[in-house]
């Protein structure tokens, strides 16, 4: 039963959603189904809420500054170097921490 539902859902999605029914369905105002114009406006609002939330959190986050990490002891499993890269001993973007 569940498999059949998943399969029919997948088939509907692959056929481009349930947008083209054989007979046009009537939309009742109480049926809970909304048209695409309504959905567009709804998701536009959700996007704006998301952007505002992200901006506030970003400002809060960046104003805190980033923590300072102490150089760890030279454990053998850190800073592994087996052979030289074509451009030199260090990775292209990793010369900052280990000298």
């Amino acid at each position: 039963m569940a498999m059949a539902m998943v399969r029919s859902g997948l088939r509907t999605a692959l056929r481009g959603g349930s947008r083209a029914p054989a007979q046009p369905k009537r939309n009742f105002s109480s049926s809970g189904h909304h048209d695409d114009a309504y959905e567009t406006a709804k998701w536009e609002k959700i996007t704006y809420v998301g952007i505002v939330g992200c901006t506030i959190f970003a400002i809060y986050n960046l104003s805190k500054g980033h923590p300072h990490y102490d150089e760890p002891p030279a454990y053998p499993y850190l800073h592994i170097r087996n052979k030289e890269f074509p451009w030199g001993p260090d990775g292209l973007f990793e010369t900052k921490n280990h000298h």
Partner: protein, 265 residues
């Protein structure tokens, strides 16, 4: 469509792009190995191979757009085949990331004695998941909402709104990539710092690469929407981009929960 054709399938014309793409892949692989082993001419062959692949991608997809948008070969049944194909591609991508999660859990669930028997390994300072990573989670979720906004706008025939929505999606995607770049730059560990660094940068790096691919895909969709290529009834390219974007989003959620959060405790 050709008038004599009595079926709705798309029989493609002969094309040079499969063989040119294959040769590009061969040159990239051989050149990459040569470069990494400091052979003479390795860098040249590698660059040539990459240029060849990028060129093939451009002209092949240009041809597909001409066949679909201008020549009308993508009938309903062809569209169904394209959707199946893209869905299978995403399934293969899931398996690709499954392997990296396997490597991560293999290494973190039973940390070896060589790294101190703990996870994260002794000496590794981890990133705080509730700072930039959580912000990036919110950004990707908002971007997912924006692509849904774009989808409904296309279905509602609101062409301008759809372009705005795609611009919002792409901008959020670029901000995500920017924060990831900043986080990488400030990270106290590198890919060569123990199995932690290896699994972390392999998984998050390939995710970042997929975010960039998805961003390019969405940019192309935005341009095509602006040019009026996408209609209410026919917008398979956009659907594929939206599916891909949601896939990238879901992979991030798994990365966030397992590698950043659980793996950092």
């Amino acid at each position: 469509m050709i008038e004599s054709q009595r079926h709705s399938y798309h029989l493609v014309d002969p094309s040079p792009w499969p063989i040119s793409g294959s040769l590009g892949a061969l040159a990239t692989t051989v050149g990459g190995v040569m470069y990494m082993h400091s052979f003479q001419g390795g860098a040249t062959l590698l660059s040539l191979g990459i240029i060849f692949i990028l060129y093939t991608m451009f002209v092949w997809w240009r041809d597909v757009l001409r066949e679909s948008t201008l020549e009308g070969h993508h009938t309903k049944v062809v569209q169904l085949g394209l959707r199946y194909g893209f869905l299978l591609f995403i399934v293969s991508e899931v398996m690709f990331f499954f392997a990296f999660f396997w490597a991560f859990f293999h290494s973190s669930l039973a940390p070896t004695v060589e790294i101190g028997g703990i996870w994260p390994p002794k000496g590794i300072g981890v990133l705080d998941p509730w700072e930039i990573p959580f912000l990036n989670t919110l950004i990707l979720l908002s971007s997912g909402a924006a692509v849904t906004w774009a989808h409904h706008a296309i279905l509602a025939g609101k062409e301008k709104r759809a372009v705005y929505a795609l611009v919002a999606t792409v901008l959020l995607a670029l901000v995500f990539t920017g924060f990831q770049g900043m986080e990488y730059y400030q990270a106290p560990f590198t890919i060569s710092d123990s199995i932690y660094g290896s699994t972390f940068f392999l998984a998050t790096g390939f995710h970042g690469f997929h975010v960039i691919i998805g961003t390019l895909f969405l940019i192309i969709c935005g341009i095509r929407q602006y040019l009026g290529h996408l209609t209410k009834e026919h917008h398979v390219g956009f659907e594929a981009a939206a599916w891909y974007w949601h896939f990238v989003d879901v992979v991030w959620l798994f990365l966030f929960v397992s590698i950043y959060w659980w793996g950092g405790i």
